[in-house]
């Protein structure tokens, strides 16, 4: 492999890894802070993708506006879902959480079938991102992929800043390690949970919206992505945002290079990675030892 191919594949890996991070960070936030295993997280990714499909005829050219509108809608959706369903789950054991959130997957899939049917759809890239530029004298690289990577990077930095540098972030981190202490300090933990959950949902949906023009929009797209998300969360260490970022990039690289150079293993390269890391560090890269 020459240097140019290597660099372009690195670009592909980073772009994929950052997208994974958007997805997995929501999952790890919700688990790390509220202790809820949310199997329906992939459904929010699917909802985001279908939302891009539904909104693009109206807002497709104002892509950033569309993303913001989508985030707004899903924040409201997340807030409502937390109030209606998830707030009852914190005190329950994991089996009940799994059953409940699995039920939600079925509900979301059913609603999708009723509302938009079972067809596969494509989402057009906005005109200002539709082009491509020559890269390394090898090929034309689509601008949209660069945009997707940058958008994910911006959100990742914002999240990192919020969690590690702000008062809200401090409460979130405190809530993750000691719920009772936070409550004891007079912080409205219910509202904190609701905000975190809504943000997690919006992040997954945002990932879906960004991914839609690069991939396609199809039934059950949520479940395939959910498994990869769990792999990322487990590798990164449960509840650690920085761990999720490192793990996402790692999975991005292993998956991309595996796809190209180890075709026979391409289906399982990331699971092998997970196995190796768990043998080395059973709690994940940045997980807390229990």
């Amino acid at each position: 492999m020459d240097l140019a191919t290597f660099l372009v594949q690195c670009l592909n890996s980073i772009q994929y890894g950052l997208l994974l991070f958007l997805l997995a960070s929501g999952l790890t936030l919700i688990f790390g802070i509220m202790g809820v295993i949310n199997l329906a997280h992939g459904s929010f990714y699917m909802i985001g993708a279908y939302m891009a499909f539904a909104l693009s005829p109206y807002l497709g050219q104002h892509f950033i506006t569309m993303l913001l509108v989508g985030v707004l809608i899903t924040v409201v959706l997340g807030y409502a879902l937390e109030w209606a369903f998830f707030s009852f789950l914190y005190e329950r054991d994991h089996l009940q959480q799994v059953l409940m959130t699995y039920g939600l997957i079925l509900v979301f899939e059913g609603l999708r079938a009723i509302l938009v049917g079972n067809d596969v759809h494509g989402v057009e890239k906005p005109a200002w991102l539709a082009g491509s530029f020559p890269l390394m004298g090898m090929m034309q690289y689509p601008w949209y992929n660069v945009f997707a990577a940058l958008a994910c990077l911006v959100v990742a930095l914002l999240m990192y800043y919020t969690v590690n540098r702000t008062r809200l972030g401090m409460m979130i981190r405190a809530g993750a390690s000691n719920r009772d202490m936070v409550r004891g300090l007079g912080i409205n933990i219910k509202r904190l949970y609701r905000i975190v959950f809504a943000v997690g949902v919006a992040l997954a949906a945002l990932a879906g919206m960004i991914a839609a023009p690069m991939s396609s929009v199809y039934p059950n797209m949520g479940s395939s992505v959910l498994i990869i998300c769990f792999v990322v969360v487990v590798i990164g260490g449960i509840g650690s945002i920085t761990g999720a970022l490192i793990a996402s990039l790692l999975v991005g690289f292993v998956d991309t290079f595996g796809k190209v150079f180890f075709q026979e293993l391409s289906g399982m390269s990331i699971y092998l990675l997970m196995a190796v890391i768990l043998v080395w560090r059973p709690e994940g890269l940045l997980g807390k030892r229990s």
Partner: protein, 390 residues
């Protein structure tokens, strides 16, 4: 006593006559045709085209096949192999159909072939190209009006080699239809002096092609052969074009890469070469009549799927005619189809020993919104039907 006897005998006679006439009514009962096709999901449009084609042929025969009227039963198979066995058993056991027509998805078709083999119900496959259906799974009561995956891809390999390409790469989903197609291409290409240097795959129905396109750009083969269908085909052809590769490395495929997708592919597909047993402009009187009637009947342009549905009905008609409308005369039914020449819009075809069409495979070029025939890639091509014992 004798009067009573007479009454009894009269009653018996009437009863017998009634029974007999009932019997003849039985013989005049309708032939039950079960459509098991995708009417929702990715392949819904294909299912509709197949049904349209079938019904149009029946209408052209005056609503009857072999002198019998047709009663239709329908099941939406959703292209879901997990539901295939249940769906096909609904037609066989509950509706007790005489003939099953289906389907599009190869995985579903395999389950149908198994059920048809076990129950002896006649199955006509109007699309699914899985080599195995007329390979290891072949049976006296299983027929196909379409193609095998091998059959539509092998000729592209021959053409690519004749165009002077030496080194090719293939790319497809990691599933049966894709693997059969790329292996067909490989066989045709390598027999004629080419070499397939690398076979890339990605999981179905994944469409993140960027990493693999990078790999193709780095390897710089003379040609790329790929098998995708439906939305995946649209996405791949567009991504391939956007990456600039189409300028330097021609993209080949079986016709499914550009059939029914040209509207969405637009600029990206122009000039592409594909091989298939049908094209949008054949120019024969038979095809013209078919296209005109189809456009009039359904206000739609026909495609290869409509042709395959149409020919499924033609094959059924031939068999029923020879069996005098009685499908239980299995030998007569089967031998007639085996010996027949079907006057298809695609051109005449006969069936191979394994019951798969022996047909011309056309070389087509994308021109605007049509796949125009520019020649014949391989004439009268029969699937090798590896593994078929019949």
């Amino acid at each position: 006593m004798s009067k009573q006897w007479a009454t009894w005998s009269k009653a018996t006679a009437i009863a017998l006559a009634t029974a007999a006439s009932c019997g003849s009514v039985m013989a005049q009962e309708k032939i039950k045709v079960g459509f098991m096709l995708p009417f929702s999901g990715t392949y819904a449009a294909l299912g509709v085209a197949i049904e349209n084609g079938f019904r149009m042929q029946v209408a052209e025969q005056g609503g009857k096949l072999g002198g019998r009227e047709i009663e239709y039963f329908k099941v939406d198979d959703e292209s879901d192999p997990a539901k295939a066995t249940d769906n096909v058993n609904r037609l066989i056991k509950r509706d007790k159909v005489d003939v099953i027509v289906g389907t599009v998805h190869s995985g579903v078709a395999m389950a149908m072939a198994k059920a048809a083999k076990e129950s002896g119900t006649v199955l006509i496959v109007p699309n699914a190209g899985a080599d195995a259906v007329t390979g290891p799974m072949c049976a006296p009561n299983i027929f196909r009006s379409s193609f095998t995956n091998w059959q539509t891809a092998y000729p592209m390999g021959v053409v690519a080699a004749k165009e002077g390409k030496k080194n090719a790469m293939t790319l497809t989903w990691k599933y049966a239809a894709g693997e059969e197609a790329v292996n067909g291409f490989k066989e045709g290409f390598e027999k004629n002096g080419g070499k397939v240097s690398k076979q890339l795959t990605l999981p179905f129905p994944n469409v993140e092609f960027q990493a693999l396109l990078t790999e193709i750009a780095a390897a710089k083969p003379d040609a790329v052969f790929s098998f995708f269908a439906g939305a995946g085909a649209v996405k791949f052809v567009k991504d391939y074009h956007a990456s600039g590769l189409s300028k330097t490395i021609p993209l080949y495929g079986p016709g499914f890469l550009t059939d029914g997708t040209l509207e969405a592919q637009g600029e990206a597909a122009q000039g592409m070469l594909t091989t298939l047993h049908y094209a949008d402009e054949l120019g024969t009187p038979r095809d013209k009549a078919f296209r005109t009637n189809y456009a009039k009947s359904y206000k739609l342009q026909p495609d290869v799927y409509a042709v395959q549905g149409y020919d499924a009905a033609q094959m059924l008609a031939v068999g029923l005619k020879a069996a005098g409308g009685d499908i239980s005369k299995k030998d007569a039914f089967r031998t007639a189809i085996e010996k027949a020449t079907i006057a298809s819009p695609r051109g005449d075809f006969t069936l191979s020993k394994a019951h798969n069409p022996v047909q011309d495979i056309y070389l087509r070029k994308v021109d605007g919104k049509e796949n125009k025939k520019i020649g014949i890639a391989v004439k009268g091509l029969a699937d090798p039907a590896r593994g078929c014992r019949m």
